[in-house]
C-alpha cells in the first residue's frame, strides 16, 4: 500500500478528532512553579498518611473537607491556600512548608551579580550590590551584619 493511500485512510478514520494533550501541556508549563510545590506537598501528605497508616477519609474528616477534595490535593495538582495547608499540618502534626530563618540571607552567584544591580534590605541596613562588584566580600559582610544584629537583639532581650 502506498504511503499517501495509508495516510489518507488514517486521516479519514481520525476525522478531525483531536487530543486535548496540547492544551493540558501548555497549562502545566505555564503553571510549573506552583504545580511543583503542590506536588511536593502532596508527596509529603501521602508519605505521612502511609507512615501513620491513616486514610485519606480520616484526613478529610479532620480538616472538614470532602474525601474528593483530599483526593485532588494528593494528586499534586491543587493550588492550595495557606489556610488549607495549616489545617492539614495540624491534623498530621507535621510541617508541610517551612519558611527560612526570619532574617534575610540573600545568596547571589557571581554571574548573577555581574549582570544585575541588587539591593538587599535588612531592618534599617541597606546593602547595595553594584554591577561587577566582587560579590563574595559584600555578601559575607552582609551576613556578618545580619548575624551581629541578631546577636545584639538577643542580648537586648536577655537584658530586658
Amino acid at each position: 500500500m502506498k504511503r499517501e493511500e495509508k495516510i489518507e485512510k488514517l486521516n479519514k478514520i481520525v476525522a478531525g478528532q483531536k487530543s486535548k494533550w496540547e492544551e493540558r501541556a501548555e497549562f502545566r508549563i505555564k503553571n510549573e512553579e506552583w504545580l511543583n510545590k503542590s506536588a511536593e506537598i502532596a508527596l509529603k501528605i501521602l508519605r505521612t498518611l502511609r507512615y501513620f497508616d491513616m486514610s485519606q477519609a480520616k484526613l478529610a474528616e479532620g480538616i472538614g473537607v470532602s474525601p474528593q477534595q483530599i483526593s485532588k490535593i494528593v494528586k499534586g495538582k491543587e493550588n492550595l491556600t495557606l489556610d488549607t495547608i495549616c489545617k492539614i499540618e495540624k491534623v498530621l502534626n507535621t510541617e508541610l512548608i517551612m519558611i527560612p530563618a526570619h532574617y534575610f540571607r540573600m545568596q547571589l552567584s557571581e554571574d548573577f551579580a555581574k549582570d544585575h544591580f541588587a539591593v538587599v534590605n535588612y531592618q534599617k541596613t541597606t546593602v547595595a550590590y553594584k554591577r561587577n562588584e566582587l560579590i563574595t566580600e559584600v555578601d559575607n559582610e552582609m551576613f556578618i551584619t545580619a548575624d551581629s544584629q541578631q546577636e545584639e537583639d538577643s542580648r537586648q532581650k536577655e537584658a530586658a
Partner: protein, 182 residues
Amino acid sequence: MKIVNIFADFLYSVKFCNNEEDEFQRLFELWQDVEFLEKFFEENKNDLQNGFYGSISVDEAVIRTKNEATRLEKKLLKIFKQKKAGEKISLDEMFQPLDYTQCIEDTLSKTKVKGNLNKSWLRIYAIKVDRNYYIVTGGAIKLTAKMAEREHTANELKKLDKCRDFLKELGIFDAQGLLVEL
C-alpha cells in the same frame, strides 16, 4: 477503540472507549499524578531498589519521574511548535524500534520513545504507520529489563498488538508491521 490526532497529521494516539482521555494525554496526566506515582513505586519498590536503577527511594523516584515527564513534554511541545511554524521535523529520530531485530523501515512496527535522561524509565509506545507517522498506543514506567516481566508493561505489549490488529482490520496497512518505542 478510536484514533485521535495529537500533532498536525503526523502523530496520533489511540483512545480506548472506556477512557475519557486518549493514551498520550493520559500518560502525561499520570506521570504528573503524585498519588499514582507514590502508589506505583511503593508497589514496585523491589524493582526500584534492587534492579537496574540501583537503590532509589520512593520519594526520589516520584519527583524524578515528574521532572523527567515535564522535560519530555516540553521537548514534544517544542517539536509541535516547530512543525506548526513550518519547519521540517522528523519523528523518526525520536522513535526507536521496540525490538532491535526489527527494521525501523518496516511499516506497522512497534516503537518506543525514552525519557531524556541517560537511564530513563519513562517509555511511550507507538505503532509506526510509515516514515514520520506514528500512533501512540500507551506508555509505562519500565523498571525491568523485559516488558513481559511485569504486568503493567506486558499489558502495553498487548495494546500495541491490539492497535496493529485494529489497523489491519480497517484495511489500512500491509501485513508487515513494526512496533516502536519513544
